[in-house]
């Protein structure tokens, strides 16, 4: 026998249920509706994988003989090689040792890819997505975060990394890249200077900071990558995806040698991903967005741990 919801008397549970549980459910629903309306296929790729994507500063959590994924990127790109044209996925990702106000070793990532698009097209997708989410979850076009009303509809300001660094840190990382100085200046000088009342895009990163992005035509020192900041908080990362198998292998090998210098774990190159690139992936763009951070922003909270069960 099934009972209708009205028959179940559980006042205690209702009082105890944290508000973010319902808002998260609405948020996930809004994301699904957005992509379904645009003919995206929702996909589910493995969480436990033989080799993680190789990035200089991202460490994978092991799981027996395997690893927990740090991102679904390589598997999703394999689906593009198999003929998928528009795909999205929401699910858990894991990064070892990342714990802070905006980090948790386990978090929910939204990633989407579409073919015949570049990183500029992905800005339009992202803007439409944020607007659709707010409309469905709260019926508004703005939200309040830490006392500031954030308008999401006006034109999103795009600033190049060269320009913001010249303006606030006095040097151009795309000309003379210094990874150490880049990270510290980004955190100490750039991020605090970003506007808090509207989204802003930082784009065109030094080539060294985008292991999976295509380089700008005619500018071998700049990668077609952007990061979305809302309220000074980094929310999403996008690439015009690198689809050249030879260059991709070189990047992975270079990254592995740098990891070795830093004494970090060595990972094998994901040969099935390289094979997929050899088979051929059309030009495409992709975005990775932190769902916990978006929920935290929309609910005006301080830490991602406030929107996850412990």
């Amino acid at each position: 026998m099934f009972t209708t919801p009205g028959d179940i008397q559980t006042p205690v549970t209702k009082i105890m249920l944290q508000p973010y549980i319902k808002t998260r459910s609405k948020l996930l629903g809004a994301i699904r509706h957005f992509f379904e309306e645009r003919d995206f296929l929702e996909v589910e790729t493995p969480v436990r994988i033989p080799v993680p994507a190789i990035e200089l500063h991202i460490d994978a959590e092991s799981s027996g003989e395997m690893y927990l994924r740090t991102s679904p990127e390589l598997h999703m790109k394999r689906l593009l090689a198999d003929g998928a044209e528009r795909i999205f996925q929401m699910g858990p990702c894991f990064r070892r040792g990342e714990k802070g106000m905006l980090h948790n070793p386990e978090y929910t990532m939204l990633e989407w890819y579409r073919v015949n698009a570049d990183y500029t097209d992905m800005i339009l997708d992202t803007k439409a997505l944020i607007a659709a989410i707010l409309k469905e979850v709260s019926g508004k076009t703005s939200f309040v975060f830490h006392g500031t009303e954030v308008q999401t509809m006006p034109v999103w300001e795009c600033m190049s990394i060269s320009d913001v660094f010249m303006q606030h840190a006095g040097w151009n990382p795309c000309l003379n890249f210094d990874p150490d100085r880049f990270d510290v200046d980004l955190v100490e000088k750039i991020e605090p200077s970003l506007p808090k009342d509207r989204p802003v895009i930082l784009k065109d990163y030094p080539a060294e900071l985008a292991a999976l992005a295509k380089l700008k035509d005619g500018c071998p020192n700049i990668a077609e990558r952007w990061e979305l900041y809302i309220c000074g908080i980094e929310l999403a990362n996008a690439f015009t995806e690198l689809v050249d198998p030879v260059e991709q292998r070189n990047r992975f090998e270079h990254c592995l040698s740098q990891r070795a210098l830093l004494g970090k774990d060595q990972y094998e190159i994901d040969e099935r991903f390289i094979e997929a690139l050899e088979k051929g992936i059309p030009p495409c763009g992709g975005v990775a967005l932190g769902v916990d951070r978006l929920l935290m922003l929309m609910m005006d909270l301080f830490s991602v741990s406030e929107v996850r069960m412990l």
């Binding site: 200089l56 500063h57 990270d183 955190v187 100490e188 990163y205 985008a210 990362n237």
Partner: protein, 186 residues
């Protein structure tokens, strides 16, 4: 030496010869970038605050800090003289004691933090008893505690007390706020 993994709120580190305490600590990691540790620090001598970002391979000096319990003996010019457990005299300058020097009473035990052998911070018991030496005569029968008047305690430090407190009364003071708490006896 401390490493980045030791950093946490409350940790004391040494920068350019001065002891600092970490008052806020946050893990940050820009996209694709290295892990960084954002700290707000307070200079334990001057009270000045600053922020500093550490990388995961940075090392921090450990300050040489020692805490000792001393007993107050007598004032001497611009400093106060205390005795340690071996009855050795230890002088602490009024500039280190600040307002706390007014709340010392004979034989009171205080906790003193030393940095490289120099006293930098003194902690008194939360409450001390002091005699009122000057105040306007008390309004008899007025037991209101929300109407206050100025009064001087031994040593001349001025506090605010309720109207019923008289000259010669012993009052209890909170050494953390420097304020009157209650009257102990007339």
């Amino acid at each position: 030496m401390y490493g980045a993994s030791d950093l946490r709120k409350g940790l004391k580190i040494e920068i350019d010869g001065a002891p600092y305490v970490i008052t806020e600590f946050n893990f940050v990691k820009p996209g694709k970038g290295q892990a960084l540790y954002n700290c707000k620090l307070k200079n334990m001598i001057t009270g000045a605050t600053m922020t500093k970002t550490y990388r995961s391979n940075d090392k921090m000096d450990k300050p040489e800090l020692a805490e000792r319990t001393l007993r107050f003996s007598y004032p001497d010019g611009d400093h106060m003289v205390f005795l340690d457990e071996n009855y050795e005299q230890v002088s602490i300058s009024n500039s280190v004691l600040g307002r706390l020097r007014h709340f010392l009473v004979e034989d009171i035990s205080v906790d003193v933090l030393f940095h490289n052998g120099q006293p930098i911070e003194v902690t008194l018991p939360n409450f001390v008893e002091k005699e009122i030496i000057v105040t306007e005569p008390g309004a008899k029968g007025n037991t209101a505690t929300n109407v206050l008047k100025p009064a001087q305690i031994e040593g001349g430090y001025e506090i605010q007390v309720p109207l019923f407190v008289n000259q010669g009364d012993i009052v209890r003071m909170d050494t953390r706020t420097g304020e009157y708490v209650d009257r102990v006896r007339r």
